[in-house]
């Protein structure tokens, strides 16, 4: 373990993070909302902590080892999650406990979008902006870390792509040099954000709302600057259409965006098995939910039924968590079906959460293979993605992931019920946090304010677990990892 090297990286990370306190300062100056000081204090505290960590070891020339990568990845979300809560704690305009502030901050950075704040509309503009910015930073962290760095550690959904090059990507690294890859992904992320912001603006949002919501859309976060979430703009359907488009795009593997952008053709998308599955799942869910809403006569007009149905399927399916309706009050099985969609989540290498489409696809194929085995005991069956056979190792790892996912899910569900939550609330809260979705059902349908502190800490852990695709975090909790 290269502690000095890790310390240096975390120090650097904090110094860079402190810079992100400056845009809210500018927002605060523009709107003169009086929160200026809390951001400045946070800036000073963060930069000071960073320097304290960094200066003593800045001359250390020790290189990071592969194993240290786990710590760096986990630190990105935990350390920044803690420091990110400072402005919320310091600001006198919102009375918020430390637990709540940290919950909000981690929910932002992990792009979950679960909130404990009930009076969002009355918050100072700079705080509102800051929450959105946290999600955007978190999304950027995912794109760069999950696509460029985590596959090197052999963790995360993208590492599945490394084993046997299914799909268009010949290597998990898109360009020969890591920094180039990160830069390319960052450009794509930025481009999507700008396009999304412009889209919202043209569709009728104010400039502030357009920027704020574009941050939360492209990062698949789901924070809004209004209590009613996207429902605030219910009279402007074009905004919902824009949101649908960009949530859908952000749920796609960013490596695919990169490949198709470089080859200037959409062939890369169409050829990709994960993308095909992603689209089919969404379409399938849209058809079912639209049909059922029609059948139940939930909305007055057909346009509304179709728009709301598509919006919520895409929003929940990609784990964004924007809502325009109180979907948790929809009739019958629909809320639960949508919640289950979030387990599948976005594609590997996207900003979406959940178990990732590629894993679902492999689990499905594996299940199908077992059925075929029963019918033809002597058959030799191989699992293929995009026409290429997969190594048994990859399929094992998916099963491993799935079992640990279910196990940790069950433990947290039981803990929450032990702490007094009813079953639906507990189940949906763990699902919504672990899949980085945001809104759940029942008590947590709108916000998480009513929960106990203990519950919130467990859910913070759930959000981190989900974001770090479980193994990254769990591996740090094993003694074997720390043994020299």
């Amino acid at each position: 373990m290269q502690f000095f090297a890790i310390q240096r990286i975390i120090g650097l990370l904090l110094i860079i993070f402190s810079v992100t306190q400056l845009p809210p300062v500018i927002v605060s100056l523009i709107y003169d909302d009086g929160v200026l000081n809390s951001f400045l204090i946070t800036f000073v505290v963060t930069v000071a902590t960073g320097l304290v960590l960094w200066i003593p070891v800045s001359r250390s020339r020790k290189e990071l080892r592969l194993r240290d990568g786990f710590i760096v990845v986990v630190a990105f979300w935990t350390v920044l999650g803690l420091f990110g809560s400072l402005p919320l704690i310091l600001s006198e305009y919102i009375t918020i406990s430390i637990t709540d502030a940290i919950f909000e901050s981690i929910s932002g950075l992990t792009t979950t979008g679960a909130t404990v704040i009930t009076n969002i509309d009355t918050l100072p503009k700079s705080i509102l902006y800051y929450r959105q910015q946290l999600q955007w930073l978190g999304g950027m962290g995912i794109v760069v870390l999950a696509v460029a760095i985590m596959p090197m550690l052999g963790i995360g959904g993208m590492s599945l792509y490394r084993a046997e090059t299914p799909g268009p990507m010949k290597d998990s690294k898109l360009t020969p040099r890591l920094t180039e890859t990160a830069k390319a992904l960052w450009y794509i992320y930025l481009t999507l954000t700008i396009l999304c912001g412009l889209g919202y603006w043209f569709a009728g949002m104010s400039a502030f709302d357009a920027i704020a919501h574009s941050f939360a859309t492209v990062s698949i976060g789901g924070f809004s600057t209004h209590n009613a979430s996207m429902g605030f703009f219910i009279d402007k359907p074009l905004i919902e259409v824009t949101a649908i488009i960009f949530m859908f795009l952000s749920g796609i593997n960013f490596a695919l965006h990169f490949t198709s952008w470089r080859s200037r053709s959409i062939k890369a998308y169409l050829m990709d098995a994960e993308f095909q599955t992603y689209v089919s799942i969404l379409l399938f869910a849209i058809i079912i939910s639209t049909g059922y809403l029609f059948f139940k006569g939930q909305f007055a007009t057909a346009d509304q039924t179709i728009l709301y149905s598509i919006f919520h399927v895409v929003s929940i399916g990609t784990t964004t968590g924007f809502t325009t309706q109180q979907y948790h009050l929809w009739p019958g099985f629909l809320p639960v079906m949508l919640l289950f969609l979030s387990f599948i989540g976005g594609c590997a290498g996207s900003t979406g959460g959940g178990m990732k489409v590629i894993r679902f696809l492999l689990l499905f194929k594996q299940g199908k293979r077992e059925i075929m085995r029963v019918i033809h005991p002597n058959a030799v069956l191989s699992i293929k993605v995009g026409g290429k056979p997969l190594q048994p190792r990859v399929i094992e790892s998916v099963w491993g992931f799935f079992s640990v996912y279910v196990a940790t899910f069950s433990v947290m569900l039981l803990l929450l019920m032990f702490l007094g939550l009813d079953q639906v609330t507990a189940f949906s809260a763990v699902a919504a946090c672990m899949n980085n979705l945001g809104p759940g059902l029942n008590e947590v349908g709108l916000n998480y304010a009513s929960l106990d502190d203990g519950v919130k800490w467990i859910l913070c852990f759930a959000m981190l677990l989900g974001r770090l695709e479980i193994f990254t975090l769990l591996v740090l909790l094993t003694p074997a990892f720390w043994r020299q």
Partner: protein, 458 residues
């Protein structure tokens, strides 16, 4: 003609056997001396022992004045190099190489040119056999399907059965039965003997009838000779070798294909490579396994391993257990006569399939396609007529005026895109593709001479 054959394997030796009987000077090269000795004892040819691609060996074999070199060793690379050397050092005019690997074949347009590998013709036996089986499965009930003129015309061999509307009537009745379809019966084999069909010939049950027709009309004609078989759906392939795998691959999107192989590693390899085929690891002669995989519902059972005995036994077992049609790959010519007409519906001989495509290049005159039939005794030929009425023995003449050797029939002419089923008064024009059936191969030189252009043509 002076021909050097490199490689005395199955294809090489049966090719030698065919060519020797046609009055050619054959030299055959191989590293296996006992194989060479066996050949020399049996056939009138010269043998050279050694590595086929070495210049000194080629020189020994007489490459400097050879007309043609045919490289059919096991190794694609040896074949390629031998042709390259023959071209560079000895300027051999015609070079034919057997190329198995798809990796080379898929780039054949760029690779096999005068500046790269100077190969005039590359043949791939596996592909030829695969195409053969594919056509047989496409036309249920046929014993043999031969393509001519890029598939515009086909010659099909079928067995006539009781219940076919035409069985028991004279050939000329065919026009009344199917007035819109043009066809011509090229030959009839009755109890192993050829009959030259005339208008008043009566088709009997169990006759093997070879007829020629445009590809789209094949089905209509077949339905006159037997109750038409319903199209095949379920295919079972035994053996995951090169042929088995290719057959499965070419069929898997249109048919329900199962492939059985006894080698687990090979099965896994194939399962990875094929998309829809169900690959089963096991022994094709295992009754339980066949039962489990629903052998009684299988339409075509193809035994395509490289082991003749295993192929024959598993095919017989499959037939006994209810497979509708069985096709068997048989290398040894002696077995072919032994089993056909028994339980096995169609015996496929790899040599015969391959030799046809080699013979195409050995025939004189502008011959574009040769199919060797009935163990090489008969041949179906597609030749192009050239020249002027004054210089050619066929151009400008009607069919009845052409002096064809006995046992030879002209079945069809392809003129550009048109398929013309010939009548006695059809006149052949220059550049026509003429499709003929020769019951007896000994008259081939006569036919060759017919299609060679006279001296006066410049």
């Amino acid at each position: 003609m002076k021909i050097i054959i490199l490689g005395a394997g199955q294809v090489g030796s049966s090719l030698a056997e065919n060519l020797v009987s046609e009055d050619n000077d054959i030299t055959i090269v191989d590293t296996n001396t006992s194989q060479l000795r066996a050949l020399q004892d049996r056939l009138d040819l010269r043998t050279v022992a050694g590595q086929a691609s070495h210049p000194d060996i080629l020189q020994n074999a007489g490459a400097q004045d050879a007309d043609m070199i045919i490289a059919v060793t096991d190794s694609d690379e040896t074949n390629l190099v031998a042709c390259q050397i023959a071209y560079t050092l000895f300027h051999t005019p015609t070079k034919i190489a057997r190329i198995r690997s798809m990796a080379y074949l898929s780039e054949r347009d760029k690779l096999f040119t005068q500046d790269a590998f100077p190969i005039d013709v590359s043949i791939s036996p596996e592909q030829i056999i695969t195409d053969n089986i594919f056509r047989l499965i496409e036309h249920p009930g046929s014993l043999q399907v031969l393509d001519f003129a890029d598939g515009q015309v086909q010659m099909v061999g079928v067995k006539a059965f009781y219940g076919g509307p035409l069985v028991g009537s004279e050939l000329k009745a065919i026009r009344e039965h199917i007035p819109n379809v043009e066809t011509r019966v090229a030959a009839i084999y009755r109890r192993g003997h050829a009959i030259i069909p005339e208008g008043h010939t009566v088709i009997e049950a169990d006759d093997e009838v070879f007829f020629i027709a445009a590809t789209k009309d094949i089905r209509a004609v077949m339905s006159e000779l037997r109750r038409i078989d319903t199209p095949y759906k379920r295919i079972m392939v035994v053996g995951g070798g090169n042929i088995g795998k290719r057959v499965a691959k070419s069929l898997e999107y249109n048919y329900n294909v199962k492939l059985i192989d006894h080698n687990l590693e090979r099965s896994e390899e194939i399962a990875n490579e094929l998309d829809k085929t169900l690959v089963i690891h096991g022994d094709a002669a295992d009754q339980e396994l066949l039962q489990e995989e629903g052998i009684d519902k299988i339409d075509v059972f193809c035994a395509l391993t490289n082991d003749d005995e295993a192929n024959i036994l598993s095919s017989m077992l499959a037939k006994r257990m209810g497979a509708r049609k069985v096709m068997t790959l048989i290398n040894r010519a002696a077995y072919v006569d032994l089993i056909q007409s028994g339980d096995i519906d169609i015996a496929i001989s790899p040599q015969q399939a391959t030799i046809g495509s080699l013979l195409t290049h050995i025939r004189r005159g502008d011959v574009v396609k040769v199919h060797s039939l009935r163990r090489g005794a008969a041949e179906a030929i597609e030749a192009i007529a050239h020249g002027e009425p004054s210089s050619s023995k066929v151009v400008g003449k009607s069919i009845e005026d052409i002096k064809l050797p006995p046992g030879t029939t002209i079945g069809a002419i392809v003129r550009g895109k048109d398929v013309i089923i010939v009548h006695h008064d059809t006149i052949i024009q220059s550049e026509d593709h003429v499709i003929m059936f020769l019951v007896d191969k000994k008259f081939i030189p006569v036919v060759e001479r017919l299609f060679q252009v006279g001296i006066t043509f410049i």
